[in-house]
Symmetry: C2
Subunit: 460 residues, 2 copies
């Protein structure tokens, strides 16, 4: 492959300083995978430091018909940032400047390689935050957050990147500069290309700059933990919490299997009959927040409630979160392969989803641990698979997705489709929708060079 | 024209009951205009009552190359629902069913012809509301709200239709059924076609059904009115309010000209030196809301504040709003022709905008009255024009738009482009963006039958 591409690689060295270009397979190796554990060696890795350098790269790739997979920190779980066949990796990690912060206009302009954490820190200095908060916030980049529309617990109150981004500067597949959106929270001038590109997993354009909408940090927060003797009871509590006027800034869920796992592994003191656990946080003005926490606690107090605790000290907050925080490390220990999905169902269907998952777990003899962002109905479904069970797990997974669609749900809330779920997207989207999406891609990327073979089924 | 279209009209009568089809020019007349006061006679007016009937109509129009302009109540101000040349009007007013309300999942499914007010009433029975609240709420339809991304005062806290719609069912220009979005607040499965269609002014698809995201009604509200001796002082207050943690649910603005107008016309008791007025509302839990109102009042209390009032009774609320409510009737009296724009600038540029508008007003000798949604920087700019000044007003308007773009603003916050602003859209959007939008339209509507010649410049 390299021989065939000698001309291209030669010209690529003309675009990049030697420190910003990897050609040696040993250097390229670690840019071949993401958190899906898939791997494919890229043809080369480039580290542009400017918008213009991205344009030059895309134009060169057009001349030589070379695919481009853009990548932030590679924390995605679906393979969307694993290089497409014969593709170069375009890493945005050197484009990590915060270009401006404008607190008066609740606005921040950033390059795509800035980490989520760096954004939060810079915003916090002015009393603001950017709502999307994936677990990987300390290393994941805003470019990746935008590519996947990655959210996190706060989305239940504050929304996803689509609700928190004003505009983008990007480069289309044909190397044109495209500016989308506005510097204001309201604008209806032509079509909304900003949201179209957010969540498109690098298939429509490469983002070189984003204008983020900032939100003021709440003055204070209260943390509650509630345990229930059944999933149904917890689901009733979730529906009641979401139907009253105070929207929590986190409403996280763990099922009975998850509770058993952390009880055993982390020796946590949780009720023996707990089949579900909710972590609830409310934020707002310091004055009145205790009353608000009490009201939410009252909403959470349905038949089947075992216990509810409101933290009154930082130590208690930490203690209440300990079960949730212990979960990921515990999960890693139990099985060599963890299939982690992030399906979504309307909140009231959570019990049916969990019951269905329990039945599938029993049928396939694969432990399934469920937790996630209950307020959005976004449940992280974890199949704990032994290596010899991989085929069976695949069958089970297909049934999980079918169940989700039967329950009016969606295949992914914040992880995206990438390679992992492209064969299932037909379950959720009708042929007309997929057809029009592919036609839209062809307008942005006529030669199909931007992350080809991602998101859509290969032959659809 | 009618003769040429005899076949088409004959076949159209086969699709519609006689009560659902207007062919007589006298009947068609009143479907030829919207609130822009432009008028063009439609070829016919059809009133479909089902998704299938829309499909049949679109297919028939494809066969005969007849354009279609979809329309709700015709309250738009930009001519987007005035029939395109030779077009039929497809009125959604008979599709006015609320299909379902699902409070547990904060969701409501509606047909496009339901009025905004009917949605609010139905949602309120379950303790919810749908945030978009245009002034015309009592008669405007949700289909129109979606077509223009129409918002209103509450958008500052609760967002526009783009932030409050989960999915759509629609019919493309080639008569295909397209389902977009999900039944959940999080979903990243393929491209975001929902937001692409919202705000596209009937040029991409005809909406036959929408899944709205509901928000719980706040328990209580407090209303404040503040007056300032300069625009700059009010703008400082706006920036301070928007930089603190409590986001008001309304932050409305009137400039000195607007204040003078209502003082004179409605005999209102406002300070003589008031050059700006802010109406501020905060909502939330009853307990603690007085403290929150006090905090916001403190933020609003900048140098240049003349007076600030917090209403304590329903009567006082009404009294504080009286100046703002008196404005529209007063405006109508002053000039036979009112050119009403809804430009947007970043909040901190409001003083520069108002100063620039005052200079233009003086130069062109045309009174300009400004008010609007200050928290979003969305200012309604009203040129009060005598009939003999129309040419001059057009020149002035072009300069208004240029000023807005210089201030990093946007031509329209919630009215859209339609016919009125299509010749100015180049000021805001670069050729690449317009080019890709037109290519996207061609994928949805290959024969360019859906509201052609709207939004984009005719020859661009």
């Amino acid at each position: 492959m390299r021989k065939k591409n000698d001309d291209f690689l030669q010209q690529l060295t003309g675009l990049y300083h030697e420190k910003s270009l990897f050609l040696d397979p040993a250097d390229c190796w670690s840019y071949g995978y993401d958190n899906s554990r898939r791997h494919k060696e890229p043809l080369a890795v480039v580290f542009p430091s400017s918008h213009q350098q991205i344009i030059d790269t895309v134009l060169l790739c057009n001349t030589h018909n070379i695919a481009i997979t853009a990548r932030g920190s590679g924390t995605g779980t679906t393979g969307a940032s694993v290089p497409s066949n014969g593709a170069i990796i375009l890493s945005t990690e050197k484009m990590d400047n915060i270009i401006s912060i404008d607190p008066d206009n609740r606005m921040m302009i950033v390059e795509p390689g800035v980490t989520n954490q760096a954004i939060q820190q810079a915003a916090a200095e002015h009393g603001f935050f950017w709502p999307p908060d994936p677990t990987s916030a300390s290393i994941c980049t805003v470019g990746g957050n935008l590519a996947y529309n990655s959210a996190g617990p706060r989305a239940v109150k504050y929304g996803t990147p689509r609700e928190n981004t004003l505009g983008l500067t990007c480069i289309t597949g044909s190397g044109e500069t495209l500016k989308t959106g506005a510097n204001t929270t309201k604008s209806v001038v032509g079509y909304d290309l900003t949201r179209l590109i957010i969540g498109s997993e690098g298939t429509l354009a490469i983002i070189s700059q984003a204008t983020l909408k900032l939100t003021p940090l709440a003055e204070s927060k209260r943390t509650l933990q509630a345990t229930y003797d059944s999933i149904q009871a917890a689901a009733n509590a979730i529906a009641r919490i979401m139907a009253q006027p105070i929207t929590p800034c986190a409403l996280e869920f763990m099922d009975g299997t998850a509770i058993s796992l952390v009880k055993e592994d982390a020796q946590l003191d949780l009720p023996d009959n707990a089949q579900a656990l909710l972590m609830i946080e409310v934020d707002g003005d310091q004055f009145g927040l205790d009353a608000i926490a009490d009201k939410v606690a009252a909403s959470a107090s349905v038949d089947g409630l075992i216990d509810i605790h409101i933290a009154h000290t930082a130590e208690q907050v930490k203690q209440l979160w300990s079960a949730r925080k212990a979960l990921s490390p515990s999960l890693r220990k139990v099985a060599p392969k963890k299939i982690n999905e992030d399906v979504v169902v309307p909140v009231s269907y959570i019990p049916k989803l969990i019951n269905g998952l329990q039945a599938l777990s029993k049928h396939y003899q694969i432990p399934i641990v469920n937790f996630g962002h209950a307020g959005n109905g976004n449940i992280h479904v974890n199949l704990l698979v032994q290596l010899e069970q991989l085929d069976r797990a695949k069958e089970c997974l297909a049934e999980v997705f079918e169940l989700v669609i039967q329950l009016n749900g969606s295949l992914s809330g914040e992880h995206g489709i990438g390679l992992e779920k492209r064969d299932y997207i037909n379950l959720e989207l009708e042929a007309t929708a997929i057809g029009i999406m592919k036609k839209i891609k062809a307008q942005f990327d006529p030669k199909n060079l931007l992350n080809p073979d991602k998101v859509f089924p290969i032959d659809a």
